[in-house]
Symmetry: C2
Subunit: 243 residues, 2 copies
C-alpha cells in the first residue's frame, strides 16, 4: 500500500507521500513516490503514485524519456500548454503501461493498476491538481473536493474532512498532513516513514519547500505524541453521554 | 456495509452497531444488527453482525430455532456451559449457513460471508468477547486487543486506538463509540444512523442500558458537532511545523 495526499489551498499546493512499498508483509522496502519536473519561471509539476511499483516506475521513466527525446512526435509534459494537457498525457501513458502489462508476457494474479495525483502550475494558468485513474481518465480538484488521497486513504480521512480549510497557512496544512499520515501509520503496516513533503506557492514555479521527514524528525515526533494527548483532551471536552 | 464495535472494559462490555444495509448505493434500508439472548441471573449474550444480510438473518434464526427446539440433539446457546462454547456453536452455525448458500441453488457473484462479534457472560465465567470469522473460527479479546470492530472499520479506528482505556467509565466509552461512529458516518454512505447501544456491567446478567440512538438524539448531535470544534482546537495546540 501507499498513502499520498495532495491539498489545494488558497496560497498554493501541498503534497505528501509515504515511502513504503511491499509485496506481502514479509517483503517491504523504501521507495520514493513523489516526482517533480520543472522549467524555471515557467512551470512546476509534481506527481505522486500509488499502486503497482512496476507500473508507476514505468510511468515515470516514460515521462522522462519523452522529455529527453527532443523532436519526438509525442509531446512531453514540459511542452504541454496547460496542466489539463499534462494530465491527459500522463493519463494516456499510464493507460498504455497498464494495458501493456496486462496483455504481454507472463500473466500474474497481481493487479497492474496504479493511481496518480498530479499537481502544479504552468505560466498563464492557475495552479491545479488532478487524480488520474488506471483507465487514464482523471478528475480535477474543485472547491467542494479540494484535496485528493490515494492508497490507504481511510484512516487519515476523518481529520482531513474536519480540519481542512482552504484558507489555512502552509504551516498548518503540513501539520494537518502529518496528523493524517500519523493516524494511518499507526493503523496500517503498509504505510511507513519517511514522508516526502513538497510545498508549492502560487505563481512561484518552484518549490517553496521540498523535504524528507524522517521518523526521528523532532516536529513529527512532537506532533505524533502530542496528537494523542490533544485528542484525549478534546475528547474530555465533549459533553458526557448520561447513562 | 456496516459498522459494529465491541469494547471490553474493566467494568463490563459495551456494544454499538449501525443499522444501515444496502445493495449498491441505490438500494438501502434499515435493519437491526444487534441481538441479545439471556437467562435472568445466569447469562447474557449479545451478538452483532456484519456481512451478507441473508446469511446473518439465517444465523440469528437458526440460533433462535435451536433455543425453541427443546430436546433437540443440538444444544442451544442458552444451555452452553461457557461463552467459549457459545462461540463454538455460533461459529459452527455461521459456517454451515455460508456453506449452504455457496453450494446450493442459484449461484451469485455476491459473497455470502459474514463476520460476528459475540460477547457476554455466563455465571461462573468472566465476561468476554469473541470475533467470529466466516470460516467459523474465532478469536477472543485480550489485554492487547481489548476491542473488536467489524464492517467498515478504518475511519473510526484511529480515535479508538488513541482514546480507548480499559479503566474508562461506561459514559466515556459510549462517548468514544459515538465519536468513532460519527467519523465513519461522515466518510462512508454505507454506514448510517440510528445506532444500537448496549452496555453490560460485569456480573449483572442483564443489560445496564439498551438504547437506540437516533439522528436527532441531543447528545449525539452535540458530540457530532462538538467533535469538529474539539478536533480543531486540539489541532491548534500542536506544535507548528516551521517552513
Amino acid at each position: 500500500m501507499t498513502y499520498c495526499v495532495g491539498l489545494r489551498l488558497d496560497q498554493g499546493l501541498v503534497f505528501m507521500s509515504d515511502t513504503r512499498t511491499n509485496a506481502g508483509v514479509d517483503n517491504f522496502s523504501k521507495t520514493r513516490k513523489m516526482f517533480t519536473w520543472s522549467v524555471p519561471d515557467e512551470r512546476h509539476i509534481t506527481l505522486m503514485t500509488a499502486g503497482n511499483l512496476a507500473t508507476t516506475q514505468s510511468l515515470v521513466s516514460l515521462i522522462d524519456e519523452r522529455i529527453k527525446a527532443v523532436g519526438d512526435r509525442d509531446p512531453s509534459i514540459l511542452r504541454a500548454p496547460s496542466m489539463f494537457q499534462v494530465a491527459r498525457m500522463v493519463g494516456a501513458i499510464l493507460k498504455e503501461v497498464i494495458a501493456g502489462s496486462s496483455t504481454t508476457g507472463q500473466t500474474s494474479d497481481a493487479a497492474f493498476q496504479a493511481t496518480v495525483i498530479l499537481g502544479g502550475q504552468i505560466r498563464g494558468g492557475k495552479p491545479t491538481m488532478f487524480m488520474i485513474y488506471p483507465e487514464g481518465n482523471f478528475v480535477e480538484v474543485t472547491e467542494e473536493t479540494p484535496f485528493f488521497q490515494i492508497g490507504e486513504t481511510k484512516y487519515g480521512k476523518p481529520i482531513l474532512v474536519r480540519a481542512y480549510d482552504a484558507h489555512m497557512r502552509f504551516e498548518d496544512a503540513v501539520k494537518l498532513l502529518l496528523v493524517s499520515f500519523d493516524s494511518t501509520v499507526r493503523s496500517n503496516l503498509s504505510v511507513g516513514l519517511p514522508f516526502d513533503l513538497l510545498v508549492y506557492r502560487n505563481d512561484s514555479f518552484q518549490p517553496l519547500l521540498e523535504r524528507r521527514i524522517e521518523q526521528s524528525d523532532a516536529v513529527y515526533q512532537s506532533i505524533s505524541t502530542g496528537w494523542g494527548d490533544a485528542l484525549r483532551s478534546a475528547f474530555e471536552q465533549l459533553p458526557t453521554f448520561d447513562l
